[in-house]
Assembly symmetry: C2
Homo-oligomer: 229 residues x 2
């Protein structure tokens, strides 16, 4: 009853990206899609392998209307992504929703699902830009501190770009929605919020001791500190 | 170099579940599979819809060799899961791996991927057991406090069971693995650990004020407390 869910027109109302259930949880503004993708760390990539779906976690990055994926030239899943349609999901879990009745337990979440046919990038500058986007997505500010890829490393890497045009966004927020008859129940109901935190960085064992943890890494630390590394 | 990765025989070495890349990250003991599934909150379910993979986040539960899924009888994705093969991934992200070179950035993670053909449960007792398993997975100890499903609610619910026989587990732990030539670099390298925390429960706005937050909910709270709800 107190859900702040919003319904809007899908970004592209194809059968795949049109949410058939729980339309009240489908929001489809482009800003919402970008925000969910940009706040994520990994996606779940679905490809077709021998006629069956295979879902795998992988890193990604976004720039404008393109989602970038990369992997080894030897990776079967990347090859499969190039020969068939793919689905990419990014999900943030924000809370467990405790209800008075078993069937109304739920999750608060923000979820984006993208569908399409990725293309392989072949232009050197585009490939480098995509890899920079991916590295700076998972580790903001890191590309400029790290050794750039060699020609050999680039040759061993497949870089894909997926257009974000066919996508849908689904969110749930707020309290449980119990049946009116259950509201007088003496069962507790509410939300247990969930959050991802970064803890104190742990320097690599083979690191020269004189290297301080850089600010672009320290700036991500939040939540309960652990023993300093 | 300090990775504590382990290679073991896959649970079922089919082409789909055999990890083709980075075999050093594939561990396949049954205990590892169960531990990853039991520690997760949501899975990403991949189904075939009109010949294309569709990946969606959903809740689940595990008992023995079965993974349970449920949804509304009207949900197209659940119907698709019954007519074709599915893939289910559960992923825990444990840290961002900062390397000296761009191409060696990585993630520490624990990931399980299950493949198979789910079956629809039709026996009332089995269906109730599966729903209890799912509710007590996302909200441990809650089933016995909540109103059980009515016949009408049960009739509107599809419950699926997926055999865990065809599955693979992949993990990465430990430090970045940089090229020997890069070890003298003045770029910081290490791991930024990542953790999910539960914050203070927020009672539902329509809750009778006299209901205390129960112990099975409070017991999950960890990390930085927020203002008490």
């Amino acid at each position: 009853m107190t859900e702040s869910d919003v319904v809007r027109t899908p970004l592209s109302p194809t059968p795949r990206s049109t949410v058939t259930r729980q339309r009240a949880r489908a929001t489809t503004e482009r800003d919402a899609l970008d925000a969910i993708l940009d706040a994520g760390l990994i996606c779940h990539l679905g490809v077709l392998l021998d006629g069956a779906p295979v879902v795998l976690p992988t890193t990604y990055g976004r720039d404008g209307n393109l989602l970038y994926l990369h992997g080894s030239t030897g990776a079967g899943n990347l090859r499969a992504a190039l020969t068939g349609p793919v689905s990419v999901a990014v999900t943030h879990l924000d809370g467990i929703v405790y209800a008075r009745s078993a069937m109304h337990f739920s999750m608060n979440y923000r979820s984006a699902v993208v569908h399409g046919h990725p293309v392989e990038l072949t232009d050197s500058d585009e490939r480098l830009h995509a890899l920079r986007t991916i590295v700076d997505h998972v580790a903001p500010g890191s590309w400029d501190h790290a050794r750039p890829p060699t020609k050999k490393e680039m040759a061993a890497t497949v870089v894909l770009a997926l257009d974000l045009t066919e996508a849908s966004v689904k969110t749930r927020t707020g309290d449980p929605v119990d049946d009116t008859d259950d509201l007088a129940s003496d069962t507790w109901a509410g939300v247990l919020p969930l959050r991802n935190i970064f803890e104190n960085p742990i320097p690599s064992a083979d690191l020269a001791v004189s290297i301080d943890i850089p600010e672009h890494v320290l700036a991500r630390v939040s939540g309960t500190p652990v023993s300093a590394g």
